[in-house]
Point group: C2
Chain length 501, copies 2
């Protein structure tokens, strides 16, 4: 990017600097020096590893004050272009223009869409489906971790482990699955870095680019991005009050021949809705008849605040076609990445091989700590507190929706989980509203992040589990007030203008 | 799989069992009952969820002793087909034959080859390239973990984190990279689940099925399996005394146009050899001219036992085309899966998006503990002990090769790392020898697991780092003695038979 008429003022043979400094212009001399040296480094004319002249030396050469040179060097160092070493001078540490052209190397790869997730601290964010930081039972966690640190098998935990998972955790999970009548004979368990990696491994093993996959519509961005990133085509199946629409799935199975179906049995993300027993059976029947595996995505299943628990699809399936995905993330500590898949051994063997290729195995310290947390009964105690808090937060959300959202708004009434799905009255656009909401102090994810097919511009997801009831009420007051004002403006725009008489 | 002539002895409508028990045959009655009920469950004729008759009731119906029925039920329960609940009877928990045919669902997917890795405890195993369990500094690890548990930011560690990595660890790694003159301006760090996942993410972002990738030949199975599993074609570049052969790479770059080159700069796995400075520069030049990125795989770099450290390729590269992969696994605790990639931001942004899709982020507990382990100076203290032990183990390996391997054997003389590459004299076949070696109490990985192109049947890898010097000597004594005996037998077979006079 060097301008052709510009003299090469740095000459490796002569080791001399000849910058063109202009004392007349308003740009300070240290800044001119900094810019010229920086450009030469970036263009590769001053190679990496080269030592720059000492500040005193260069100041003398250029007839400048030494502090001018020092200031220029300091800026170069801040930018990471040079590095000063006491007593040895300053060295060029980087910056040469790449002959490896990353944009062109990356160009043929499709962009991925990352949902906005982080907002400033004072924004009430309904945007992330995660547990409440305030509810973490820190002392119980510490006790569990301490217990692991005192164990005789600590060296085994620290050593390279098995792709299938930390064996004591695997045994615990298999026994739990048997106790809950989830495990069929010949089933196996694979420990993964949360449900997300279980989905990823399933995709790797079962999908080839261009394959179809049936998923709920709307669905959470993590699954959408993962599957489309693998080159899969998503076939959206509408979600109704009773969860995924089995009749619609049947049509998709016939028309699109998907490789597999991903079904959220409980408290679907984003709608919060739960699949009825009849729906579960109908989906299992339809998928079974088509010979298509069902991936039962159940990371929220343990978070039921009211109503009767439903039998897992894994339990209802007498065809051996279901893989159940569960996780410790939503019910305990999402920063520890431990989930698992339960399913027929032939598939689990392939998933294990894919797991080994991907990252050898799941972190063993967290596997051991979570096992101790669960086996000691501390997980159950924590869950009881989480269920109580979750019920309050869900109630606060539903009440505040009723109290603050504009007339004509509709929202789901989940019995658990972390999310409520809201539809604002038309012509409100939840995506357009977001920027104003953020300025007013509220964040959420608009419907477009969840849409598989045609999307409802009025929709948005409220992830309530991470917020205290008073934050939920305040947040919905802000959002509702804003939406009402917006609606009035919109309606006034649509009113016919009075005749000009 | 029900035989058509067999009566359906269980009828849901009648809820009656009519097993055909033969009192004449030698098979005990409880066993006959168990087999028939089991078969009906597996074939789906007794559906999942069904309650079996109480033992007393069925015994009465069939004219059997109640203990006979109990014994049959016990076997069914052991096999996971039924589950007894106190006071409620026994329920069918699984077993119906799948209408989802897993072998056919999986059929089109290529098999992956997993290297044999686990041997019984009394075998001296040179098969796994991992640190010594006995050297783990358990107290220092405990102190580091305790420190993390007492930290004020523990809730942040337990909460959902950033795909880029735990921010304090990222800052530490970036500063370290700057201090070591590895970071170029605009570089970024991504924390991954060890180097293996960094390679996986790079493959996901840069590769499409059918693409070529240049790698060292021989190369470790983890990389081979990962890349071929993604549908890549491996172009092997021979490894000489000075590491990857730059002239051969140049030909591969021209002929095969690989998407990227994976180079192990230090103590290559499996050969243990290190790339010379001239080789590093030549490879950077060749790749740079071709506009092809270099992935510098450097998980062993910190394990230098003798000789002078060489500048990293990342440091020598003034084209911004190198991504450096490093890890805590080999130098500390491989059971904690934390590694990182350092490279140009445009690529790192894509890797981070792929990381988020794959498994959201790396486990934060281990990131925090390893950061504390490093920042406290305990990692450096541990490293000093590991280097001392490694030097002894490497020396023991090289001495024992000299003392015990048959004449004509050749082996590499690494200056660090965990592996020595051995070539036995012809016509010995290291793969064939393995079964006998295992019976004699020694295990290793034969050359075929590492071959990219044509492979040397006489080659094998000795991973010495996990073994004590006396185990190394004993193991090589066993292996050498066996190889010598084998060689004599082979040579006697090749000797011309004396004329029958």
């Amino acid at each position: 990017m060097t301008h052709p008429s510009q003299p090469i003022w740095y000459d490796m043979a002569e080791m001399e600097f000849r910058p063109k400094l202009d004392h007349a212009v308003e740009v300070p001399l240290y800044r001119q020096l900094y810019e010229q040296i920086g450009q030469q480094i970036r263009s590769g004319q001053i190679p990496k590893g080269e030592r720059l002249p000492a500040t005193r030396e260069l100041a003398g050469q250029l007839g400048l004050n030494r502090t001018t040179v020092s200031a220029a060097y300091e800026l170069l160092e801040t930018e990471g272009l040079i590095s000063g070493q006491v007593g040895r001078g300053s060295f060029v540490t980087g910056g040469a223009a790449g002959r490896v052209d990353w944009p062109s190397v990356l160009e043929r790869v499709d962009g991925t869409h990352t949902a906005p997730g982080s907002w400033s601290r004072d924004v009430i964010s309904f945007a992330v489906s995660r547990p409440s930081r305030e509810l973490f039972p820190l002392d119980d966690f510490r006790t569990s971790a301490q217990a692991v640190l005192s164990r005789a098998d600590l060296p085994d935990i620290l050593q390279l482990g098995s792709p299938a998972g930390y064996e004591p955790l695997r045994r615990y999970l298999i026994e739990e699955a048997r106790r809950q009548h989830l495990a069929a004979p010949g089933d196996d368990v694979l420990v993964t870095n949360g449900c997300q990696q279980a989905m990823d491994l399933i995709g790797r093993v079962l999908l080839r680019p261009g394959d179809n996959v049936a998923v709920e519509d709307p669905i959470y961005p993590g699954l959408k991005n993962l599957l489309t990133g693998m080159g899969a085509q998503l076939c959206g199946v509408p979600v109704g009050q009773d969860g995924m629409d089995a009749a619609a799935l049947e049509r998709v199975l016939e028309r699109d021949r998907p490789r597999f179906v991903v079904v959220t049995s409980n408290f679907q993300n984003p709608t919060g809705l739960t699949l009825s027993i009849a729906g579960r059976r109908a989906i299992l029947d339809a998928a079974g008849r088509a010979g298509v595996p069902v991936i039962e995505n159940d990371s929220y299943g343990e978070l039921r605040y009211s109503g009767e628990p439903q039998a897992a699809m894994k339990q209802l399936d007498d065809r051996g076609g279901t893989v159940l995905l569960r996780s410790f993330s939503k019910i305990s500590f999402p920063g520890l990445r431990v989930g698992w898949a339960l399913g027929p051994k032939p598939l689990m063997d392939r998933l294990r091989a894919a797991k080994e290729a991907t990252d050898l195995h799941t972190d063993q310290l967290s596997q051991a700590v979570l096992l101790e947390f669960a086996e000691s009964g501390r997980l159950a105690a924590h869950r009881a507190r989480v269920l109580k808090a979750g019920a309050e937060r869900l109630a606060a959300t539903l009440d505040a929706c009723r109290d603050w959202l504009p007339a004509g708004s509709r929202w789901t009434r989940p019995e658990g989980g972390m999310n409520v799905w809201v539809r604002l009255p038309e012509p409100l656009d939840a995506g357009e509203l977001l920027a104003r909401a953020q300025r007013a102090g509220v964040a959420y994810l608009p419907g477009k992040f969840f849409a598989v097919g045609r999307f409802d511009a009025t929709a948005l997801r409220l992830s309530f589990a991470g917020l205290a009831p008073e934050e939920i009420r305040r947040g919905l007051e802000i959002l509702g007030t804003l939406a009402k004002a917006e609606l009035e403006t919109a309606q006034s725009r649509f009113e016919p203008s009075p005749a000009m008489v």
